[in-house]
């Protein structure tokens, strides 16, 4: 009898049938949908998608629109501040909690609960907390500092920072949990060695522990950044993009163009720009993380 293999197509038949939803989703929705949107971003689609080509017109108009430029600027401010602060706060919290403290579970539970809430809930709570008549500003004034002024949601210049406060409140717990997992994953003998060598704790963190936590940092970074790009619900709930257009963000721009302004082409072009941004971050990460590894040891 000649040796060979049974028909490839019908081997693992059940597994292939079971994977159909995944294959359909991957190819039809994710790949197909992305290509569709990118293709239609070069058309003049208005209320309905239409294949009347206009080249790069939509992109030129996009970058000439003030609302989009404000949205990009806001995203940059929010993004940079969020990134830096969420990492600093998250790491410090994790380091504090990692000091073999009592009530660890209670403290961790309280710091993380905002993450379980909807952005809409977060946005509304902070809208209320930052209300100048009844919230933080009025309390400080009642304490005797009459000229104190802190009304980010009513002051176009600093409104985005009001959103940042809410975003940090909700997101820092996640970073703390991930960092804590990273800290706990480090070989405890490193600490013993540092102690025997007489290295102060802060130096051990900066020069030994943090470099060892590189994988956790990178994963957290990717998560935080993709979260920042998706920023939408929080803005809608907390400020609605206002005052004026001072807290517009790209995700909201896309939604407004597609579903309120009947300007699909603009929406497609703007969402394509969002995809490009994410791709610039995710692809280098994926190459670093998975590119070097070989399969089958």
């Amino acid at each position: 009898m000649a040796s060979g293999r049974p028909n490839q197509l019908f081997r693992n038949k059940s597994a292939k049938i079971a994977a159909i939803p995944m294959i359909v989703t991957a190819l039809f929705v994710f790949v197909g949908g992305t290509i569709w949107t990118v293709v239609y971003s070069f058309t003049k689609s208005g209320l309905l998608p239409r294949l009347n080509w206009v080249g790069l017109d939509q992109y030129e108009r996009l970058w000439a629109t003030r609302k989009w430029l404000v949205a990009i600027e806001n995203l940059a401010i929010y993004g940079v501040c969020m990134l830096v602060l969420v990492f600093v706060i998250g790491f410090i919290l994790a380091a504090l909690i990692d000091q073999k403290i009592r009530f660890e579970n209670t403290i961790r539970t309280i710091i993380l609960y905002p993450y379980a809430l909807s952005f809409v809930v977060t946005g509304l709570v902070w809208q209320w907390m930052l209300n100048p008549e009844f919230g933080v500003q009025s309390i400080v004034r009642d304490l005797g500092w009459e000229s104190f002024s802190f009304d980010p949601l009513y002051n176009a210049d600093i409104a985005i920072y009001g959103v940042l406060i809410a975003g940090l409140w909700q997101g820092s717990g996640l970073v703390m949990v991930l960092m804590l997992a990273g800290l706990r994953g480090i070989d405890q003998e490193v600490w013993k060695a540092a102690r025997v060598d007489g290295i102060p704790a802060w130096k051990t963190y900066i020069f030994i522990v943090i470099p060892m936590m590189r994988p956790v940092f990178i994963t957290t970074l990717v998560l935080v950044v993709t979260g920042i790009v998706k920023l939408y619900d929080l803005i809608v709930a907390q400020t609605g993009g206002g005052p004026g257009i001072s807290t517009e963000v790209p995700a909201k721009y896309v939604y407004d163009m597609m579903f309120s302004a009947n300007n699909l082409g603009q929406g497609f072009a703007a969402s394509t720009m969002m995809l490009v941004t994410v791709a610039l971050i995710v692809i280098p990460w994926a190459v670093l993380e998975f590119g070097g590894k070989k399969h089958h040891g």
Binding site: M1, S3, R5, P6, H296
Partner: protein, 359 residues
């Protein structure tokens, strides 16, 4: 109809990596064959191919004169025991034993009969209602063997079944597996990296390296007449002493030492001049009063002593090569002393320096 398992021209590639290369192996009915080798030699891979858990790239596998190359594992007439026991944690011992039989849709009475018989043989009847988590390592492995036993098959496959147990338990279960084989008289193919296990259990041992069989033979053959330098080095602990020298005029010379090869049983019939390697097992070196009976006698300086209780291992130097000698544990010897040792070339092994094949 004499062979239980036949492997013909078997190849297995993972992408560009050739894990098994043109492997041929015939295992007789009722034989206990051990596949021995260091990790990555392909021994477990071969076992998985026989079980049908891996698809082969080329070649055939026959079990009981049936070509099973494309058959499902459950249709091959094999039972398998794994290193990690692989007991289904959510099922009781009884459930574990009967799972395969239920899948084969056997009648209930037959299942009960087989489970009873297997649990009697392995003395696990009191454990039948327990979950695997409530068992000790030894008990778990017994259940895993039982799972192969209930299948009532001719071929048992063992994939390093004792590696997860501590030394004492391992020795106990080793004896038990040997008894089981004597009682059941079915074919057993047993993968291990432990040479003591291989030596004690096997009718024949296949030593593997790089996806090929380096030597197939009885434990005595493998130990006494290793076919090549790899096998000679792999088998035996402490390992064999080697001298890289040459054969000239029927004698082996290395440095200023000449060893006449009278009494050495050449594979090819007689000595041929050329570069060669001589191997001597530390336990074949004679010390004490018996030295004078040996054909070759050498004086060495004792450099290091490793007492193991029953033995003393002596490190010294012979003809510029590091050399180890095994002495009795009670022998009186100290570092720096002169020691007289005796060697018999008839018990040594000679290999061609280039091909590393036995001469």
């Amino acid at each position: 109809m004499n062979n239980s398992v036949e492997i013909k021209n078997l190849d297995l590639h993972f992408g560009a990596v050739k894990v098994l290369q043109n492997l041929n192996l015939e295992i007789g009915k009722g034989e206990f064959l051990v596949l021995l080798g260091s990790s990555g030699c392909g021994k477990s891979t071969l076992l998985n191919c026989i079980a049908g858990l891996l698809d082969v790239t080329a070649g055939q596998i026959h079990i009981n004169d049936t070509n099973v190359t494309w058959s499902e594992p459950s249709e091959r007439g094999i039972g398998m025991v794994f290193q990690s026991y692989a007991l289904y944690p959510q099922m009781t011992v009884e459930g574990n034993l009967s799972f395969g039989l239920k899948n084969a849709k056997l009648p209930k009475a037959e299942i009960a009969k087989r489970v009873k018989r297997a649990s009697e043989i392995l003395q696990i009847e009191p454990l039948l209602k327990r979950k695997p988590a409530a068992l000790s390592g030894g008990q778990r492995q017994r259940v895993a063997i039982g799972r192969a036993l209930v299948r009532d098959v001719d071929v048992f496959l063992f994939d390093e079944p004792l590696s997860n147990l501590d030394a004492k338990l391992r020795a106990e279960l080793r004896v038990e597996i040997k008894r089981l084989h004597q009682k059941l008289e079915n074919t057993m193919i047993y993968v291990t990296h432990d040479q003591i296990e291989a030596m004690t259990l096997a009718d024949r041992i296949a030593i593997m390296r790089g996806g090929q069989i380096m030597q197939l033979g009885s434990p005595d053959d493998i130990y006494g007449r290793p076919l090549n330098r790899y096998v000679a080095d792999f088998i035996g602990s402490p390992s064999m002493n080697f001298f890289d020298g040459a054969i000239t005029n029927g004698a082996f010379t290395v440095g200023d030492l000449t060893i006449p090869l009278t009494g050495y049983d050449f594979v090819s019939g007689g000595p041929v001049d050329g570069a060669a390697t001589l191997g001597i097992r530390p336990e074949h070196v004679v010390t004490g009063e018996l030295v004078e009976n040996e054909p070759i006698r050498i004086d060495v300086d004792v450099e290091l002593i490793e007492p193991t209780g029953s033995d003393k291992l002596i490190d010294c130097e012979v003809a510029g090569h590091p050399f180890r000698v095994r002495m009795d544990g009670q022998a009186q010897v100290s570092v720096g002393e002169k020691l007289r040792i005796g060697i018999d070339p008839a018990r040594a092994s000679l290999f061609d320096a280039a091909t590393e094949v036995r001469l």
